[in-house]
Symmetry: C2
Subunit: 199 residues, 2 copies
């Protein structure tokens, strides 16, 4: 039996991510993908059931998984609130800034009905993704360190600015004039922390 070409599978995934990031999800076609990977369209179907299957696997395995791992590196839910938040912010920003393709696909997760389904699935099974962060927040609420809000609300208050800042990082990169420096990021995180602390 002829062995699988594992290189090809990796190439399919990374080139698919590149096309989605640079030309948009709407411009990812199976034939364009095959051509750029230098394989026959049929070969994609040997590895993925169909386009939907490819996108969902791309999203779950390649993006959500790697992203979570990067964000949680060096993070410990028993850290002080400020220290933990700074770690999470730094990790998030560093990973996304260095993985624009993954960041773009995460963004698509909010608007594409297809990816949104995959995203919800992964997130609704609570604790599957980012459970250490969930516990970290609940713990700090229980101990009265930060203001009490529903978990999703706390998440929005504490982390949505960092995503927006990554977006701006890329915008400014295109205009070759960077304002989102590490110092700015640290200051922003402090602002967010100050707002939610009790007293």
């Amino acid at each position: 039996m002829r062995p699988k070409n594992l290189e090809a599978e990796k190439a399919i995934r990374s080139i698919a991510l590149r096309i989605i990031a640079e030309e948009g999800l709407e411009n990812l076609t199976m034939q364009k993908l095959a051509k750029e990977v230098n394989i026959s369209p049929r070969t994609i179907y040997l590895k993925y059931e169909n386009k939907e299957d490819l996108l969902i696997k791309l999203f779950i395995d390649e993006v959500l998984g790697a992203y979570e791992k990067a964000v949680l590196t060096g993070f410990d839910e028993e850290m002080s609130f400020s220290e933990g938040m700074q770690k999470l912010w730094t990790n998030t920003f560093q990973y996304l800034k260095n993985n624009r393709h993954a960041f773009m696909l995460l963004q698509h997760g909010k608007t594409s009905p297809l990816l949104n389904k995959a995203y919800q699935k992964a997130n609704i099974k609570q604790g599957q993704f980012f459970s250490p962060v969930h516990r970290f927040l609940m713990q700090n609420i229980d101990r009265g360190i930060i203001k009490k809000f529903p978990l999703d609300v706390s998440r929005a208050l504490l982390f949505s600015p960092v995503f927006d800042l990554v977006n701006e990082y890329f915008d400014y990169q295109e205009r070759e004039h960077q304002i989102i420096t590490e110092a700015v990021l640290t200051d922003c995180c402090s602002v967010v922390i100050k707002g939610i602390l009790n007293k």
Copy 2:
């Protein structure tokens, strides 16, 4: 000369928004749109040059314009920082919550290369959209009332959570269990304000 059917033009726009919001930008086709409006595909081309033209006009006229108007209603850049922020948050949340289709298209503006172009155009010509808000922020920075950051960074810190909360509002709406109440929103705005105030 036969007069234009102005109803049809309105219907094209509102049904296009509905399809994009409910089925995604990738599922908006000219033939589906024509069928749902009950007109011939050709008629769309009497009013718009092509699909790109339709999308950009939809985005600029229907969404960005109406959205800006709603957000600025009753807002005055000479308000106190806290009062102004609460007004902007309330207006933003109320408008987006009642105009899900517009909200969804705004989200697509971040991921679709096509709409992104339109979005950048509208925003780069600074002052064209939301200039009262820009002046409001700069003024409060100059007066030392809030911490000094580049304008885009301040915007991210102060307003990205409210978008995320709208997203969550709709998520919870689908699960028929609303947690994003007006009281929660007001509290969230206070958290954000507290964070950025000097002292």
